[in-house]
Amino acid sequence: MSVQTERTDTAPAPVVRKTDPAPPGPAAGGPAGRRRGVPAPYLLLLPALLATVVLLGWPLVKNGLLSFQNLNPRQLILHLTEWNGVDNYTEVLGSSDFWKVVQRSVVFTAVNVALIMVLGTLVGLLLARLGKGMRLLLMLGLVLAWAMPVIAATTVYQWLFAQRFGVVNWILDALGWHAMADYNWFGSQLSTFSVITLLIVWQSVPFVAINLYAATTTIPKELYEAASLDGAGAWTGFTSVTFPFLRPFLWATTFLEVIWVFKAFPQIFAINAGGPDRLTETLPIYAFVEGPGNQHYGMGSAISFLTILILLGLTAYYLRTVLKQEEDEL
């Protein structure tokens, strides 16, 4: 299961440290590496670094260069390079559409991540309370949702929410909400976003829930015993033991979810291509539509570059905290 996210700070790792009488101190690895006089860590990191530089760094630089060019079908076909300075950026930054999209992306990310984290935590805690059979059943449901490939999932959601013969409209109608009988979910901004949010939350909650459950199983019982001696209730048990213990995990997961939700592309694009009227375009969709979609490639590159900057801005606080922690580790 994959939540071993930013690991030094996820739950199981602290367990190792806390229950371990021996001071974690300087790793055996460090001195050993130095002793042999070989820059072992660098050798081990070399393939990863090389891959990152070549396969990610190069496209990023290329993308950056393109963002300063006028690149349309003619230039692309004839392999022409036409620099146009910061024109693309001036145009994007000066367009009210762009800022609306930025705002929408931030709100969209915030709502989704909040829902995912709250629901994921609740479901994870529920898993911890269940008996074995029920827990396996719920796990199975969660794993099915989690494992569903996004493209298959978007197709299924379109079918669930189809205007004619869609089962969701049928259920709502059967429950007495007759106005929904032939409701077009993809006709307005809010309803389209509702479907997209439901899809993303449905797919992301299992990741949080299952990993959180796994983390709670590593909480030493003595901590609860100590707490219950003080006569603490379930809620106090949660706030005084569970939550502090899980905090690093929740923190790291939030960071990952922010990235994933902000970058969400196929979910939004396949559901309604950013429609209706481009009202559900978030930044990645906007960049795609304006760039490759509209064959205005330089512009697309400029928007995607800004997208990266905004994402960095959103996650900067977390990155800083982690780097600070790293100083104290090992």
Binding site: Q4, P41, L45, A51, L56, N63, V143, P149, I151, F165
Partner: protein, 276 residues
């Protein structure tokens, strides 16, 4: 502390409801795929198909080059995940166990690499691959899928490596193993669940990838299943039976893989951590 009846009942009831909520879309996909069209396009949904047909699956598999696409998808996905695991294992070992100058820089690099918005960089990648004369090939797909999952894989594996007690490694080295031998004999087996768990993310990412293969490989012999699924959807529009059959076929390998690996991975994680 004995809980009241309600206290015992509500978690189970909630779990049952949640199970239905999470599993229903998947169930509905398979159910629709197996129902005859008359039971799909109907005012009152048939929740439990009694009349099962495989006609929709036949229609879905009937696409040109279907099996070529299956082969391509499998090749690209498996290779990308394998390469990512090997490279990530080396890197995560260094990051989790060693102290060296620039360590934080590496960490930061991988964390930022995780944020790359690949979908909007396709044109830059396209131009690079085009100019390298590598279009219509599975090689660029494999390496780019590899890098898409590499940062996450490194950072996650790093957690698993850190969770393996150092004493085990040290005692192995006291017994005369070199560091490499200690790694292979002691740490690697303990990491197996971690590797499986981490690979899930890679599988699902590579299996799903769509915008890049769309622009890089125009020849149908070099395309992958997501393109088939999406073209299927545009062609058959409201033929939900066939579309759901296609989606089912597409999802099935990943669902099976998850259900299978997931249990091992969970138990591996928890036991590993508790032992520590």
């Amino acid at each position: 502390m004995k809980r009241s009846l309600i206290g015992r009942l509500w978690p189970n009831a909630t779990a049952a409801v949640l199970f239905v909520v999470f599993a229903f879309p998947v169930y509905w996909m398979f159910a629709t795929a197996l129902k005859p069209t008359g039971d799909i396009v109907t005012e009152d949904p048939v929740f439990f198909p009694t009349d099962v047909t495989f006609g929709h699956f036949a229609k879905a598999v009937d696409a040109d080059h279907f099996w070529t696409l299956v082969g391509n998808s499998l090749t690209v996905t498996i290779l990308a995940v394998l390469f990512a695991l090997v490279i990530a294992l080396l890197a995560s070992f260094a990051l989790a166990r060693m102290r060296f100058r620039g360590r934080r820089g590496f960490l930061l690099t991988f964390m930022i690499a995780q944020m790359a918005p690949w979908e909007v960089m396709v044109i830059a990648i396209y131009m690079i691959v085009r100019d390298a004369e590598m279009l219509d090939s599975l090689v660029p797909l494999t390496v780019f899928y590899m890098i898409m999952v590499l940062p996450f894989t490194i950072l996650t594996l790093r957690g698993y490596v850190a969770a393996v007690p150092k004493e085990l490694e040290e005692s192995a080295m006291v017994d005369g193993c070199t560091r490499g031998q200690a790694f292979v004999r002691v740490i690697f087996p303990l990491l197996a669940p971690g590797l499986m768990a981490t690979s899930l993310f890679g599988f699902i990412t590579a299996w799903n990838e769509f915008p890049l293969v769309l622009i890089l490989n125009k020849g149908v012999e070099k395309q992958t299943l997501p393109l088939w699924l999406s073209s299927f959807q545009t062609t058959f529009g409201d033929d939900w039976g066939a579309t759901m059959a296609a989606a089912s076929l597409f999802a099935l390998p990943i669902l099976v893989l998850f259900v299978f690996l997931q249990r091992k991975a969970v138990s591996g994680l928890t036991t590993g951590a508790v032992k520590g």
